[in-house]
């Protein structure tokens, strides 16, 4: 099987790169402005639900947003032939710790459904699916560190299903102010595409 990586992006704490080229982000002048909110605004995205998301979902959402725009995905029609597979190290621990604070103290006990709902790693895949009307598979896997091996295995396995024509695949890690995202938009191209190797995945990361 051969593929095209139609678009890929990296989002870290300092930089956004689309297809390897840095995209300048306009930092807000407010003293405590959040980096991911600045990234959102810099791209002129209009999606108010973004501000309800936890950091992991924001990070993955932005990665998906950049590559889906870059490939011109039509988000007004159901995309049943596109799937989403994400990986990370810390699951939803960033939000888990926030939720834990709401139940830790017996005298200050206020478990919040709005926080609890994000205490699952795969919610980010749900957010991406809703935004882009992606109705194929959505899966989330956890590895100790960025694993080109498991990522490339997942890419081959997903495309072995003939109903899949596109795949949003990447590393969506966010924990304790450390943002680390690689998102790729991959399509099957047995004629002129290339093999997905662990070296290739490592290079994009």
């Amino acid at each position: 099987m051969k593929f095209d990586i139609k678009s890929y992006c990296r989002i870290t704490n300092k930089k956004v790169l689309l297809n390897g080229t840095e995209v300048p982000i306009i930092r807000s002048e407010e003293p405590n402005s959040l980096w991911l909110n600045d990234v959102y605004r810099s791209f002129g995205i209009q999606y108010l639900k973004f501000f309800k998301m936890d950091n992991l979902s924001k990070a993955g959402f932005l990665g998906a947003e950049l590559v889906c725009r870059d490939v011109g995905l039509d988000i007004n029609v159901p995309n049943k032939d596109i799937s989403i597979v994400c990986f990370n190290r810390s699951s939803s621990l960033d939000d888990d710790i926030i939720y834990q604070q709401t139940i830790q103290d017996k005298n200050n006990y206020f478990p919040s459904p709005a926080v609890f709902v994000y205490t699952l790693a795969n919610i980010v895949t749900g957010e991406i699916a809703i935004r882009n009307k992606i109705m194929g598979e959505s899966s989330f896997y956890i590895t100790e560190k960025f694993s080109p091996k498991q990522i490339s295995e997942a890419i081959y396995d997903i495309f072995r299903n003939n109903y899949v024509n596109g795949l949003l695949c990447g590393w969506t890690e966010y924990f304790k102010d450390n943002c680390d995202v690689l998102m790729m938009f991959i399509t099957r191209n047995n004629k002129s595409g290339k093999e997905i190797t662990t070296e290739l995945i490592s290079k994009l990361y």
């Binding site: 699951s91 621990l93 710790i97 478990p111 709902v117 795969n122 194929g136 899966s139």
Partner: protein, 381 residues
């Protein structure tokens, strides 16, 4: 073809699959009423594993260990241990891969003052410790796909076997309950304070449960290589609703699509029963009835195992596949306990008693947060 080599279930109903299965046949539930448990102000109904029983069983198999294991890890290891003994395979061999399914792992370690090192709260660390107990060196795959994890893990296992990467895959799902998980579901108003009643008009929500469940899968070249009665994994799919992060789609879009892919080319008349997710929340059960109705499978018997085990989260998809496989092998359809009067939007055939069936397949459904849905179709030879 992908076939089930062996299995195990550890729950409050027993420490082997057979014990659990025979309890279900006797309409025995593992659910109990808990008050002041985990320091949570509201009571709940759930199925908890007794620490003493787990520790006692674990001390018999952990002879060399200088590691202090958590309840989750001990339960998972016990489950794998039993399944491996039955399969008679060497779990340390490099042709064996571990796939671990969990939603929250050791999340209770976020509470202050525990003896464990900080990295024990990471899901990959639990998976490593489980695989390392059996001296397996392959990097374990960890599936964390909310409530569908246990079925998603089996689909992943089938893909790994079909790709020829490994000879055996040990799929293990485990979940323990804590203040974190119970309080969260309570905040969602999703928990019932009585035994859950899937698909019933008086259902008021779900019960949670603790369990570990293991299936060992392998691949055979042809059906004639396998014994009569062997359980085959035929097909499976995961589909997203693209609708809401915590509520199911009213039109059951994702589950409908998942069934569609899983059942591709399979005659629905050959399906003995549908083992539903059947959590007994109003929305979930309605949505499942819509998916079944859209496939015109309204006459196919449907059951939910939640009144026996509670919703065991990352273990649920594996545990319920095993119990359903035992029923399929025996030629019966298990009773959907707690059900009296139909209370879902599409007329489905909820199975009220144990009945016989000579059909060869069952369909397992599961859905969860993040808009995810999955379906797998299993067959007996």
């Amino acid at each position: 073809m992908i076939y089930k080599v062996s299995d195990n279930i550890i729950s409050s109903l027993g420490f082997t699959s057979s014990e659990n299965y025979s309890s279900v046949k006797k309409y025995k539930s593992g659910l109990s009423f808990y008050e002041n448990m985990f320091d949570i102000p509201e009571p709940f109904v759930g199925s908890l594993l007794e620490n003493e029983k787990i520790n006692e069983a674990f001390s018999k198999i952990a002879t060399k260990s200088d590691i202090e294991y958590t309840k989750l890890e001990k339960t998972a290891i016990l489950s794998v241990y039993d399944a491996v003994s039955e399969a008679n395979i060497d779990p340390a061999d490099n042709s064996v891969l571990f796939i671990f399914s969990t939603t929250k792992g050791n999340i209770e370690l976020l509470e202050n003052n525990n003896k464990y090192e900080p990295e024990r709260v990471y899901l990959w660390r639990s998976a490593q410790l489980i695989a390392e107990f059996f001296d397996n060196k392959n990097e374990a795959v960890v599936v964390s796909n909310a409530c569908i994890s246990g079925v998603a893990a089996q689909i992943t296992a089938a893909r790994y076997l079909n790709a020829g990467r490994y000879k055996y895959i040990i799929v293990i799902g485990a979940e323990v309950l804590s203040k974190f998980i119970i309080s969260g579901f309570q905040s969602f108003k999703a928990l019932s304070v009585e035994m859950c009643k899937p698909f019933d008009k008086n259902r008021t929500g779900l019960n949670l449960g603790e369990a570990a469940a293991t299936i060992i899968y392998s691949k055979a070249e042809q059906e004639t290589d396998l014994h009569s009665g062997t359980i085959i994994y035929e097909n499976g799919a995961v589909c997203n609703d693209a609708n809401h992060i915590s509520g199911p789609s009213r039109t059951a879009e994702g589950l409908f699509n998942a069934i569609n892919i899983a059942m591709n080319g399979i005659d629905k008349e050959t399906v003995s029963f549908i083992n539903a997710h059947g959590t007994a929340t109003p929305y979930n059960d309605d949505m499942e009835s819509v998916a079944i109705g859209r496939h015109e499978m309204n006459d196919t018997p449907v059951n939910s195992l939640k009144p026996y085990f509670g919703h065991t989260l990352g273990a649920a998809g594996i545990l319920e596949t095993i119990i359903s496989a035992y029923a399929l092998q025996e030629g019966i359809i298990l009773k959907s306990m707690g059900f009296e009067d139909l209370g879902v939007v599409s007329a489905v055939n909820i199975n009220k008693d144990i009945i016989g069936s000579d059909k060869k397949r069952f369909l397992k459904l599961i859905s969860g947060f993040g808009g995810s849905n999955a379906a797998i179709i299993m067959r007996k030879i």
